[in-house]
Symmetry: C2
Subunit: 318 residues, 2 copies
């Protein structure tokens, strides 16, 4: 969420010679994205985002991310469309970074979406799950259950953040890793479908951004990530009205099977643990070059404790 690598106008002019998108009129670094450098670019032909991929995004994953946005955009999902150079390539190199220009999406991310916004976003998520069908590439979820134990072992001193945090993590870890549901309907999921990444125009979704955690996993796990990030109030309570709005709107577009419904409580715990683990690690190991404050892991500790008492998907509004 910042600019790590600077791009001068002269760098930009040289880059734009390779594209057919007009002359630059405005060019500004923007505070957006996970540890990438992002620039708003306006030309006489339209508005774009130039992204320079920093270290957290692995070069070998870029064809997956770029290809996925193209695949989804062609199938009606409002997401950034990678722009190709005259040579037909969407990935370029700029200032020793991999880089891409994508179309700019109008819309604003909401901090406090209401139930109607939740429903609109859930419909978009279900449509994304349908639209990904046929995408040729795949990417393993590095932050799925097999990645949790190494991450937990790399965390030292979690109890300094909150008393009992280590026990909470370890207590959930064994049960979730061994009992993790297999063979659920799967495909490419967004895997970071937070309110920050969904842009609204009025009450409807105008676009989905930030596909840099997308991977192959169970669709209902993506729904669990969404329920975790959209349906809790600031005070930590679960808003069942929003939960109902999300689940009902999702099911209207993509029905949930009995086995997906049965798996929801454990997936909710898993989704909470996944964000608890990365946030705890980042909190204890802040990157000195990072220009953003790490997010508070206690938010997800509270959510995990809530889920630990849930027995049935009904409690989420099903």
């Amino acid at each position: 969420m910042a600019v790590y690598t600077e791009v001068s106008f002269e760098d930009l002019e040289r880059l734009l010679e390779r594209y057919d998108i007009g002359q630059p009129l405005s060019f500004k670094g923007i505070a957006e994205g996970i540890e990438n450098s992002n620039f708003y670019l306006q030309t006489d032909r339209g508005a774009f985002i130039l992204t320079l991929y920093e270290k957290r995004v692995h070069a070998e994953d870029l064809p997956f991310f770029i290809g996925l946005m193209e695949h989804l955009a062609e199938r009606g999902v409002h997401c950034p469309l990678p722009v190709k150079t005259r040579d037909g390539t969407a990935l370029v190199t700029l200032n020793r970074r991999n880089a891409a220009i994508v179309t700019f999406l109008t819309g604003i991310a909401l901090r406090r979406p209401d139930a109607a916004h939740c429903a609109s976003a859930a419909r978009t998520l279900a449509n994304l799950h349908k639209a990904q069908a046929g995408f040729a590439l795949s990417r393993r979820n590095a932050l799925g259950p097999s990645g949790w134990r190494p991450l937990a072992e790399a965390i030292h001193g979690a109890d300094k953040i909150e008393d009992g945090l280590t026990a909470l993590i370890n207590g959930s870890l064994d049960e979730l890793v061994t009992g993790w549901p297999a063979h659920l309907p799967a495909g490419v999921i967004h895997a970071d479908f937070f309110p920050d990444n969904v842009l609204f125009v009025g009450n409807e979704v105008g676009g989905v951004i930030d596909f840099y955690f997308a991977c192959n996993d169970a669709f209902v796990y993506d729904l669990a990530i969404m329920l975790n990030s959209w349906c809790f109030e600031l005070d930590g309570s679960f808003n069942i009205t929003k939960g109902q709005a999300v689940i009902n709107a999702y099911r209207q577009q993509r029905p949930l099977s009995e086995e997906e419904i049965a798996a929801l409580p454990v997936l909710m715990r898993g989704a909470a643990l996944r964000f608890l683990l990365t946030r705890t690690y980042d909190w204890l190991n802040p990157d000195p070059n990072a220009l953003v404050r790490p997010k508070d892991p206690r938010e997800y500790a509270k959510k995990l404790r809530f889920h630990n008492k849930v027995r049935h998907a009904r409690e989420y509004g099903l």
Copy 2:
């Protein structure tokens, strides 16, 4: 050059109820400005910048800055125009910060302006000096000669940055403070007319931004700040072609008197010392909350050493 205070969409919606500038379509934090929080705002009626003033900008100076932009914009200088609320006020409060919405200017700041760009920018500077006439408010230059000694005394350990830096500062200080020319033609100057703050559309200036150092001082001191920041090459050499372009273009719009020409060499040294002092102080006292790296003071040490050998304005291209 970052976002220090966050503004949620809900904060924005509440703020926009007070204005008559349409519905928000895009809203993004941008990496721009000196320690203020800046946001790009697009509505169905146009593009704007929302600025939240952080600690470096004193509240009592805001009416001067806002009034100056209004005064200049009304007189044809392309600068951000403060937008008024329905109640007719341009200054508001948001998230416990003073804030203002101004019009967005198209154009791009150049890292390496050529002589034609220099000439266009110098014409704009001269026009700004003419357009400020009649502006009712005034503001003392806190970073003028009377401010240099306290700043120099607050600097400890300059020689850690570069051997001899303390001697360079102290050697220039006495001579410049005592010999500083008085009674030069004066008025409101920009005082930070660096390439970062001048936006180009093609080869012509599209707009001037960042008026938060503007103050009352000698016009030719503003020209000296511009020559210092536009006419040196990256290797530290002075580009006399650019110097000629700046001085000639400026004089076409606003003639320089004999006394202004005679004063130029000492003002060039003063301008270099002013930026050397603030950069040295900021380098040795980095703000832990700052999201930008301090600028290298050695750039201005090199410029000051160059000026110390200059005897006549001819050497700058007059």
